[in-house]
Subunit: 477 residues, 2 copies
């Protein structure tokens, strides 16, 4: 039992030091490892399997809306990156440059893609000729590089995995519809699959993507009261089309510029799962995204028939992702390990259970134990996973609601940001100067102007001038 304890004690409690708790979970749940390459990490099997499940589910949802996958080069020649003015200003300071290929210096240096708008535009300029070629609904799964100074596993690293969708449309209206469709797809995915409630809204101009006309975002609240931008969808209007000359002939044989969007989700989502659902025993995975949903832990496995029965049970639970932990560790150690790794349900099965034709089901989130007849175990496991998924969402939503505050004036605002971790809803005049002042005074930033607007007051919380929108503010990752 000493050993069992050690595994648990090795995690810092989240109340003591949330950042250290996070790092501990990431490491102890075997999600990542650090590498000799500064700012880059290894996705270990448990971490990568989460990404595979995210990919599978998102990819299915993308394809259902007509999206097709493609793959574009990882390199961008400097001249291509520079074609759209705002875009290059936003990204050039943080890219990695390749200057030598083989034994010779390159004539033109190339960066490793930090995002692929410029490559897609270069491609679309050739690929799109006529209105018949539209819309183009392309997506790619790849890794991108941004030369960050400070890095944290999943949340900010020099290389990360993501998908980037890039679409081209005949009209501004279609582009706007696609931008919102993908944002809603992201939000639904987070809520239905990751059990993570999100606020849907629009970024202020200050916070929008380099080169975009408008950026939409989903914002989630982490357990420590900080916000995490969890997915973004951008409407580019025809800005990139003009910079890259992407034109099509319409039905009246006139040349028109296309309207474009892009949208992305990244391995950051794994950080969000950890920080929304985790507890002081480690990771807690929503059943719908868990690579292993059920861990069967045999008790007294050396006794005759126990392991056979455990594997028989696994066979009966073929609708779920199930493993049997038949390693040589003690049951207590196995319990801790399954908890640390966030496996939604564990089933304890020993000689006495077998004799009584029963097993013990333990939920990871509530630790509730129920004794179940082996005759009805398939239904009980299904029910437990379903209830857990629902409860995790409700719990996260209740947490967010309990940590969402309203500020009617600047004193209230500053007080909340200083003392109550969470979202602050407050009115804003639309002036970037107020965003900058708020950030300087409090370190909070505007997270988004939610689609669901509320009227809190007539005046900007910062300057007192007439308000234009209600904004969610918060400290963010």
């Amino acid at each position: 039992m000493a050993k069992d304890k050690k595994l648990v004690e090795a995690i810092t409690s989240m109340e003591d030091d949330f950042a250290q708790w996070y790092t501990d979970v990431v490491k102890k749940a075997d999600l990542i490892d650090y590498t000799s390459v500064k700012g880059c990490m290894v996705f270990k099997p448990a971490g990568y399997a989460l990404w595979e499940n995210i990919q599978k589910e998102l990819d299915k949802r993308f394809k259902a809306t007509g999206v097709q996958n493609v793959y574009l080069p990882m390199f961008i020649p400097e001249s291509l990156l520079e074609k759209e003015k705002d875009h290059v200003e936003g990204f050039a300071p943080e890219v990695a440059w390749v200057t030598q290929g083989g034994l010779e210096p390159l004539q033109e240096k190339m960066c490793v893609r930090p995002t692929s708008e410029t490559l897609f535009c270069d491609f679309y300029a050739k690929d799109i000729q006529s209105y018949r070629d539209l819309p183009k609904l392309y997506n790619q799964w790849c890794s991108v590089v941004r030369w960050e100074k400070e890095t944290r596993p999943f949340l900010r690293s020099r290389e990360f995995l993501w998908q980037e969708g890039h679409t081209a449309h005949a009209t501004a209206k279609e582009a706007q519809e696609r931008t919102e469709m993908m944002l809603n797809l992201y939000a639904d995915f987070c809520e239905e699959v990751l059990a993570m409630p999100v606020i849907r809204g629009r970024k202020t101009d200050k916070e929008k993507f380099a080169g975009a006309e408008a950026t939409y975002t989903i914002e989630a609240l982490m357990h420590d009261g900080k916000a995490l931008q969890s997915g973004t969808s951008h409407n580019f209007g025809d800005g990139f089309a003009k910079a890259f000359g992407i034109q099509y002939t319409d039905k009246d044989n006139k040349l028109q510029y296309v309207h474009q969007t892009s949208w992305g989700m990244t391995t950051r989502l794994i950080g969000a799962i950890i920080m929304v659902h985790g507890d002081n025993s480690g990771l807690v995975l929503p059943p719908k995204i868990a690579p292993v949903q059920v861990m069967i832990i045999p008790i007294a496995q050396h006794k005759e028939g126990v392991l056979d029965k455990a594997y028989e049970l696994k066979g009966r639970l073929a609708d779920f992702s199930v493993k049997v932990d038949d390693s040589e560790k003690s049951p207590g150690w196995k319990f801790s390990e399954a908890e640390m790794r966030g496996i939604p349900v564990r089933i304890e099965l020993g000689p006495k259970d077998i004799e009584a034709n029963q097993a013990v089901i333990v939920r990871r989130d509530t630790r509730e134990k129920i004794v179940v007849s082996l005759d009805e175990i398939e239904a009980k496991v299904a029910e437990t996973l379903e209830t857990m998924q629902k409860d995790m969402y409700e719990r996260a939503k209740a947490h967010r609601e309990a940590h969402t505050y309203i500020a009617k004036n600047y004193d209230e605002f500053k007080d909340i940001v200083a003392n109550k971790p969470g979202f602050v809803k407050a009115m804003w005049c639309g002036d970037e100067a107020c965003e900058l002042k708020i950030k300087e005074d409090t370190t909070a930033t505007s997270r988004c102007m939610p689609f669901k607007q509320e009227h809190i007051s007539d005046k900007c919380v910062c300057c007192g001038k007439p308000a234009k929108a209600m904004v969610y503010w918060g400290k963010a990752y």
Copy 2:
């Protein structure tokens, strides 16, 4: 009809110019596009969908043998690349170097991975401590970069997509077993799914992977009689383990070096599919890998009920991947297009067919047309796809056998290589000097020493000294 013809006429015939035929197919079947990034290409939806299907099938087979997916950084610091002497000599001349990150020069330059042995070794050195940690059976799906001077779509490009498996074992025996297991897995995949027969064997020392103790390969014969190395599996022994210090404590508490393997398959396979099965009307896809297996082409689709019936038929064929081409093109154009894209089966359905409760099924490979009652169309489509898959394999195998020659002496050898495109089986003394001489005299290289050895003569075909092995020779991509 003029337009329909044009689409087909645009392909060079393979008898006139195989290389140009290949380039035409790749472009006209909409698999790739060229880019502003020299030597790199865009995988368009039809090309990427092939890779997705290859991935899905291989990944399933890997996982069935206990392999887990991970993801390691794309960058390798120079000092890490240099740790294994043969390996760095093999790869350093053809890597892309990153020398600047953000606005500052890097203290140590890094290359973009050409392959990840060094990264996996660096990781394993930390991750492996005890015999309990073994075996490690990891794989990653990613892109790699090799700064090639001459490039060709799918066959040789500066960036390509692949999977690389990297395993670590307690014993030399286990490593050898895994090396062969993965080679056989690759071979079975090629034969069962891609309908592409392969020769399984071992590379000579001259042709083996930089740093490997032994390299195993599968070699396929293309339609033009050239060989294509289609997958490789390497046994590293403990060479990398010693260079990187990867040791574990065995059951007797003694420190031991691990034994390692690596194995990979790449987007080259798409080139192989094209060159093994394609014809002068374009691509011919084996049913088991085709992203679209059946294209329903309505005839006189403006007439009442035709499109409804076509979509009803699609619904009934839900076990397959089916599309209805309801675009405004003429049926003849649609036929040519479906042929160009290699869609295994097309179904023609017009008002007269509907009246007669029938449809016309056309096989892509033989162009055989059969009229089928709509009552039994599911079974007929299934049967046609199955037969086509089998026939394509048999046809490719017959082609290979018809283009495999035996050379008993050097005159015969030179004559065959000069005049009969294909494989040449001939004996070899084991001396690299003979390989070099043969390459210089004929441009043929040793493809592999097949597992299935045959005794052709006692003497090396080149020098006449005692022979050690029968070797497959050929000109190669």
